[in-house]
């Protein structure tokens, strides 16, 4: 009796055989999306996806790029499908790139639409393109075949080992919807045939305001949340000559202390950098602790001035990617975001103290 019931039930289910399948070799997986401004209110969506040519035993990986003009991402996908051999899916998107013009008008609605779609992960990278994304996504030769992973690997390794501050869609949204912090995105451009990271784009809410270059980004990364990577080159005076040292960041700790509150807040920013000298020009004796101390002081001073310059600039632009607002809000009971942004933030003072410690200088004397 029980068995019969079960059999009839399973037959019923088998008969309905019900759901749309998404078999991985029968769909095309979009890996990169580029969004550019097109004439009027239209946008140009560019997507890249891998596909495999079936050639006997060996399948070869190929990349294809499609562009379409539309207003919303989902409509774009449906339009793209009219040109694709197999259905396109967003589930494996790794990088979404926005053109600068789009970003100037505000990114919220686009990011929100990607966030709304549960198929899209929240650890994907968003980035800003100087110029047309369509151009940047068109690589030549062998690189074209790896384009799906190219940009995500590019951003990822730079976050992990180099100067780009940590970013992904979740962090962008966190900053976007946070009253006391402004969002940032990595900035990508194409030089000749080479795509490359050139700095960090600053946002006021969802609108692109300005950008900082790679050297500033190095400082910015230290100030934002400390870091464990990044390399930068500094100039030091040695026996009256200009010499260069390259300092690789081993570990940075940054602490913000509110020194006073009224009439305008003042922050002490204590940056403790532990680094190693990986290279230097000229003949500085790195075994001489006096010399090293000298370098430490000199570089520390440079980082300090750079930092203060950077913060000044943020204040002038009225953007707050370092999150002073958050720090202020966490000690304020009647927090008013607008007042902070308009009146208090531009007047906020900050004193950067840099404490650089050179741990080592390589394997040779």
């Amino acid at each position: 009796m029980k068995k019969k019931k079960f059999i009839s039930l399973s037959v019923l289910i088998l008969l309905t055989g019900c759901l749309d399948t998404q078999i991985i070799d029968e769909i095309l997986l979009i890996q990169t999306v580029g969004i550019d401004k097109h004439e009027e209110n239209k946008l140009k969506y560019t997507v890249t996806y891998p596909f495999f040519l079936e050639q006997g035993e060996e399948s070869t990986l190929n990349m294809e790029q499609l562009s379409v003009i539309s207003e919303t991402t989902e409509e774009a996908r449906s339009l793209l499908n009219t040109r694709a051999q197999q259905p396109l899916r967003y589930g494996q998107v790794r990088v979404i790139m926005f053109g600068k013009e789009v970003a100037e008008e505000g990114l919220e609605k686009y990011v929100k639409s990607f966030y709304r779609n549960p198929r899209i992960g929240s650890q994907i990278f968003l980035s800003l393109a100087e110029g047309k994304t369509e151009e940047i996504l068109r690589l030549k030769g062998e690189k074209q075949q790896r384009i799906g992973m190219y940009f995500s690997d590019l951003i990822e390794q730079n976050i992990e080992f180099e100067n780009i501050p940590e970013t992904n869609m979740h962090l962008f949204l966190f900053d976007l919807y946070s009253d006391g912090k402004d969002a940032i995105l990595p900035l990508i451009t194409k030089e000749g045939e080479e795509p490359k990271l050139i700095g960090t784009a600053l946002f006021d809410f969802d609108r692109y305001i300005d950008n900082i270059d790679l050297n500033e980004t190095y400082i910015f990364k230290q100030l934002r949340d400390g870091s464990e990577g990044g390399t930068s080159q500094f100039m030091v005076e040695h026996e009256g000559k200009k010499e260069y040292v390259v300092i690789e960041n081993v570990f940075t700790d940054v602490q913000y202390k509110e020194k006073k509150r009224t009439p305008y807040p003042e922050y002490d920013i204590q940056v403790e950098i532990q680094g190693e000298i990986t290279d230097n020009t000229g003949n500085i004796d790195l075994n001489d602790s006096n010399q090293v101390t000298k370098i430490e002081e000199s570089v520390g001073k440079q980082i300090k001035t750079e930092s203060e310059k950077l913060i000044k600039r943020f204040q002038e632009l009225k953007v707050d990617p370092l999150g002073f607002g958050e720090k202020y809000r966490s000690k304020t009971r009647n927090w008013k975001p607008n007042e902070w942004k308009e009146n208090i933030y531009p007047q906020t003072k900050s004193n950067v103290k840099v404490d650089l410690e050179i741990l080592q200088s390589g394997a040779i004397e």
């Binding site: 029980k2 289910i13 998404q22 078999i23 991985i24 070799d25 997986l29 079936e54 589930g91």
Partner: protein, 500 residues
Amino acid sequence: MNFFKRKKSFQAASPKSKNLSEWLSALSDGNEDFMEEIIETPYGNIKICYYTTLIDHQRLNVDFLQPLKTTPWRTYKDIQRNIYVDDTAVTNDIPTTNERLLQGFAACQLPDRKEEVLLINAPADVQREVSIPETEFSVIGPQEAFVEKLETNIFLIRKRLPIEDLRIRKLKIGTLSSTETAVFYIDGIADQENVNTIIQRLKEVNFDDVLGANALAQMIQDHSYTVFPQFVNTERPDRVAASLAEGKVVFMSNGSPQAIIGPSTLVELFSSLEDYYLPWHIASFVRMLRLFSVGFSILATPVYVAVLTYHYEMIPKDLLSTLIASRSNIPFPPLIEALFLEFTIELLREAGARLPTKVGQTIGIVGGIVIGQASVEAGLTSNILLIVVALAALASFTTPVYQMGNTVRIIRFPFIVMSAMFGAIGIALMLAFVIAHLIRLESLGRPYLAPFYPLRFTDWKDTFVRLPYNMFQQRPQQMRPKSKARKKASKTQKNKDIDE
């Protein structure tokens, strides 16, 4: 006792003459291996009849006929005294005579005592030597396994538990086969309720030809529609002894080299006796490996099917192109691909099991290498799935109890089908079904999922891990043992400091 009554009624039902002599003479009509001969001795003639096929002729000659010819005798009593056979009886009862004759007794009759016969035990003893265990091989454990003969098996068990509290109850089951079945338990440890249940159920078995202990186990198990075995079956005397010592009840049948242990739990079906011979850390590691491999074996292929059919988002980016590339030539959906491979593996296993060992090995190699490789090259399956399925099959063979291994292999198929229909949700749904099913299962009326449900943390010492023996102070609560302590707790506290 009602068992014998039933047996008698069966005998009475068949047309038999009432006279013992006539009945004996009539037997040879239908049974051409039945012998009836007159022996001439210096002291008189004697009629002797027996089934030639059941009798050890040498024994009959040496122990019975020789003394009969050399020593004077007059009555049955004299004969009983003279011959070298101990197991004799004088009877006038036809059913008893019939039964004994079929067990390998010879009946002899004096010309002047036609109403009675003397039964002499001289059975032919065809017996396999006690050999090494085949299905439950252990590396460092004892290398002996049960044989078909019940007496030998009882001897093997008695030898391991030389106490008078080891009780053996014998039953005869099967209207045709009349299979001799022995129930073992240790009085004072085993819960009498379990003993009663198992004896009661064995008595209630009403079937003509009982094929042996494994068939009996199926007839008396609590739930007959489940794929999960509810008893541990083993061919190892040491496992039987260990189970008896925990308070379990065991039964064996004449003619089958397997003992059935109950009540059993799911965990026991995944434990091997080797776990108790190895040091506890290694045993625990092996046991966890085994449990993991069971999970892997059941879930690996379904997960492959689910992910490739529905959840492409879950594939890590580094695996993505490998997976797509391996599948891009395959014309079938993952479900068909997986079922094809699973089916192939099952075929190979079944063919290997049915064929003689040497041919079986060849089949394994042919199947594994040729079919696997060829089907990948022909674009029927992806090589990633080939790896997954092969690993899953390998993992399913780690289950120490053979029947549980079968269950693990079988249960995979509904999982695969569900995963092809509802993806990960289908797998979870199937998992929920299996869990609910396991919760409902019982073995001899005891919960099957213990000690997880009902929760008995003290019994967890012997589940995922096998903790050191000093933790085994108590018998498992699952059996409700009458005496709980396994050993006397030693009071000597280790209060010593270093180097004292």
